[in-house]
């Protein structure tokens, strides 16, 4: 469904209100588009109409007995047959809707009024009143629901109003608790605080500010409660505690059918039961889709259409691979390597797409790089540049759906990781290529001890006893300088500090002596002092283990001390690729220069860090031509039209800038000071 966005001569205000209307309309469409919501509404409406106009609609008197037609089948006179006393089943169903709908709506309405009273007062007043009311609600919830209703019915009696009251008592505590919680949350919000501070009386705040907000969250609960009330009413009637005869009720009809016709006419068990089930189903369906709509969830089927589902490995859908020509090595897209053999990891033309609500979006577009044996390679860029996605794609850790690798190759040790199946991939993960993630607290499983997680990492790849693995796990912790290693094995992640957790992650990554470590922003979530320790540890371990490292980061200052070469990514593409020293000395892409100027830890000729104007464009909204041109101080008209290729820009260097030869960009210690975005000094 697309919307025409062309200017149709509307005033700004009109256009905005139209947009608001359209958003509402879309939401309503989504709500009604949910499986069966319209049908559910129709069914509920039908039941309400039955209840209101039973005498007009019912073809027969529901209590008119006709012994000549006992258990009569379906006929023109009796659309659903007759019961054991020859009464018309259809008419009795219609009259049954009376007590069912009356009790249902009375119950939920009454419970809502009581609960609003209790919940708003408790939440807004707080203090001892809150305590008392909430202990009362606890007491109500301590009863098994039906038992509470039965106890109240035992005292009150079984008329329609008594039943409603009994059931309302059952539903009130849950609602009251919810409303109190919401009220507490909303009370803290600024608009309510503002009202209080300008002296609005509390009752007015409750009625005008809090009530409408509470109600939106409550509608789902109401729909579900209506369904439960239908069940409860018919349940009581089934137990003989429904409205006294001769009033017809669904539960009672079922009870009679069960008592009289179970053995002789089993089909008579169907109409009343089915009616109850359908009514409950209708209310539940409305409630479920309200919940989905209000929480903004889109139906899964739509979001995931078109992406192959695979668990634990990213799906690969790429065109048939052309046999690589011998001349491929000379192509400019190929990173230059000083005549050595194949690198440990060779990523070529990697492209990754994500399925979104609006269609497929290419997040990584033709990325190529190498990581040589024992080398440290920095993968640098702002958030949204595609660096993390590229690094996760190497181990095929992106979830499918929504992710899908749509092109390229990832050769590790000469094997294309995009060709292999899950079982082979999982044997490479952790053993040959290991990974350390950004947030160690979220990345360690909170429910298992770190010992368990370390031992598991070892035993997934090596056939050793649990005891031997435990000894090795302790040694691993010792290797990352964790004191009391054997005791720490029985600690849970939440019991360790952030730095400790990242040390555990590193120990886990190195447990099987991998040849390549992919570290995805391993220090970003940590304190500055801890960051330095972790970097130091990584360097130390790399020496010891002779590891190659792909270090993903946005921190140029950090990577400058570590890496042999650096790959700079922007908007899903590699924009510069260079040995570290040369990159810092003389960047060959305006984006790199801007990153350098923006890094607080790096002294360029600019007096203080200069922020890069604008933002990284969102995937799917990349500008035409050079993707950096809207933010580039050196952009010319030609930069805005044609896509730019990665070209050779010196020994072992590449840049994706069409002005690479004419620009002299400022690096660290270079003579030209630049100020990006304002007045480009370097531009001719």
């Amino acid at each position: 469904m697309t919307v025409a966005t062309g200017d149709v001569g509307l005033l700004e205000g009109e256009r905005r209100s139209l947009r608001g209307w359209w958003a509402e309309h879309q939401r309503l469409r989504r709500f009604l588009g949910h499986g069966g919501v319209l049908l559910s509404f129709a069914w509920v409406l039908l039941m309400i109409v039955f209840a209101l106009f039973a005498p007009l609609i019912a073809p027969h008197d529901p209590n008119a007995q006709n012994l000549a037609e006992t258990n009569a089948g379906i006929s023109a006179g009796h659309w659903i047959g007759a019961d054991d006393l020859g009464r018309d089943v259809f008419s009795r169903l219609i009259y049954g809707a009376q007590s069912s709908m009356q009790v249902t709506f009375e119950t939920v309405g009454l419970a809502l009024v009581l609960a609003l009273l209790i919940g708003l007062v408790a939440g807004f007043r707080g203090g001892w009143l809150d305590f008392l009311l909430m202990r009362g609600a606890d007491a109500g919830l301590a009863f098994p629901p039906l038992v509470l209703a039965l106890a109240v019915v035992a005292v009150l009696g079984t008329s329609v109003n008594d039943t409603s009251f009994a059931l309302a008592i059952v539903f009130t505590p849950g609602f009251a608790r919810f409303i109190r919680g919401q009220t507490l949350a909303i009370r803290e919000e600024s608009f309510v605080e503002a009202s209080t501070s300008i002296g609005t009386p509390p009752t007015r705040i409750v009625l005008v500010r809090i009530l409408p907000n509470v109600m939106t969250g409550l509608v789902v609960g109401i729909a579900i409660a209506l369904g439960s009330a239908v069940l409860a009413e018919s349940g009581l009637a089934f137990l003989g505690l429904g409205p006294p005869p001769p009033a017809a009720s669904w539960g009672d009809m079922l009870q009679e059918a069960y008592n009289t016709s179970l053995f002789t006419h089993p089909w008579s068990l169907v109409p009343a039961g089915l009616t109850i089930a359908l009514t409950v189903l209708a209310f539940n369906t409305i409630g479920d889709s309200l919940r989905d709509t209000l929480s903004g969830a889109t139906p899964r089927s739509r979001r995931q259409r078109g992406v192959k589902r695979q668990r634990g490995i990213t799906a690969v859908v790429r065109p048939a691979q052309p046999i690589p020509a011998p001349a491929a090595q000379a192509e400019p897209d190929e990173p230059e390597r000083g005549g050595a053999g194949p690198a440990l990891l060779e990523v070529r033309d990697l492209s990754v797409e994500f399925q979104t609500d609006t269609g497929r979006v290419r997040v990584v577009d033709g990325v190529s790089f190498d990581v040589g044996e024992g080398k440290i390679v920095g993968l640098v860029g702002e958030s949204g540049s595609g660096k993390t996605v590229s690094s996760l794609a190497v181990l095929r850790l992106l979830s499918s759906p929504p992710a899908q690798i749509v092109g390229g190759s990832i050769r590790f040790n000469g094997r294309d990781l995009l060709d292999i199946e899950f079982d082979e991939m999982r044997r490479i993960r952790g053993r040959d290529i290991a990974m350390v993630f950004q947030d160690p607290l979220a990345s360690l499983d909170p429910s298992f001890t770190i010992g368990y997680q370390l031992i598991e990492a070892i035993r997934l790849h090596e056939n050793v006893t649990r005891a031997a693995a435990r000894d090795r796990a302790a040694k691993l912790l010792e290797g990352v300088h964790i004191p009391d290693p054997s005791q720490r094995l029985s600690a849970y992640p939440h019991q360790l500090s952030g730095g400790m957790r990242q040390r555990v992650m590193i120990a886990m990554a190195l447990s099987c002596h991998p040849r390549l470590l992919i570290a995805d922003e391993p220090t970003t979530a940590l304190d500055v002092t801890v960051q330095a320790q972790i970097v130091e540890l990584l360097c130390e371990l790399r020496e010891k283990e002779d590891l190659a490292v792909l270090f993903v980061t946005h921190d140029l200052a950090l990577i400058s001390e570590l890496s042999d070469e650096i790959i700079v990514m922007y908007a899903g593409q590699v924009v510069e690729h260079s040995p570290t020293a040369e990159l810092f000395g003389r960047p060959r892409h305006p984006y790199t220069a801007a990153l350098l100027a923006a890094s607080p830890g790096i002294r360029t000729e600019a007096d203080s860090p200069v922020l890069i104007a604008g933002q990284v464009p969102q995937a799917g909204q990349f500008p035409s031509g050079c993707r950096f041109h809207p933010r580039c101080a050196y952009a010319e008209d030609a930069c805005r039209t044609a896509a730019i290729d990665l070209t050779i820009a010196g020994p072992d260097r590449q840049s994706r800038c069409r002005r690479v030869e004419e620009l002299t960009l400022a690096g660290v210690g270079s003579e030209v000071a630049i100020r990006l975005g304002a007045d480009p000094v370097g531009a001719p």
């Binding site: 098994p144 106890a151 035992a154 179970l262 089993p266 089930a277 189903l281 952790g430 979220a442 598991e456």
Partner: protein, 315 residues
Amino acid sequence: MGRLVLRRLLSIIPVLLIVSFAIFLLLALVPGDPAVTLAGGLTATPAEIARVRAQLHLNDPLMVQYWHWLTAAVRGNLGTSISTGQSVGSQIAARFPVTFGLVVASAIIALVVGVPLGIVSGVRPGGSLDSGARSFSTLGLAVPSFWLAILLVSVFAVHWRIFPSTGYTAISASFTGWLKDVILPAITLGVGVGATLARQLRASLIDALDTPYVRTAWAKGGTRRSVLLRHAFKNASMPVVTVFGVQIGYLLGGAVIVEQIFSFPGLGTYMLSGITDHDLPVVQGVAIIFVLFQMAMSLLVDISYGYLNPKVRVA
């Protein structure tokens, strides 16, 4: 862990006081003079009314009456049934195992149905097994237990004659007899709860599979089995346990209906007979036992939650 249990036990006390007072008030709330009602309504003779008044301490102030009732109840004396004259406490003691067995069997059915369904649909949401499982749980929530019971009876007991339609064999008399009698009632009760568990497990599995720690589990070379059934499942089962605790109340309430349909001599049928006979001491006694039952079960659930969640256990 011990402290967690202790705290939970202490928090029960105020709730229990309020509940017991509310249950005690059932008598006082009866419109008119409860003694007249309890002695048999308008036909009661003044002597009978006086006897009931004395028996229930109705001449004392309300709080004194409550004290009498409470101290007696704590000692296990829940009064005598007005209609049969039997001790309510001993009746409850005799009937409790019936209901307990039914609820435990239903809980097992709920887990046996709910957990595999939840896993199947949570691991592959949108797949054909998922749609099947989801339709099943949607239906399981909508179909009234008493209708399901009747349908099960008419198919398995009347049509195929595999299981008895009604009746109860004590587990001490014959285990297989008990099993045969309890299976249909337990399915009736367990399916709805199982459907709820499946929905919750599906949702929390989908969430868990999207977490960084599951990505770590894949990244270290985890097999599908180890990642899905160990890391994702253990974390996903925590909210399921909470939901299960709430659902136990529905099992207990549903037991009243199911016992009635299958003629089980349990607490539910006892309470219903109390209601139809206006035998309020019976209603009071059974109600308070139901509340205690539910509290004990949810305490058990809380303890198992503490076992699953190390943050609760250690804190």
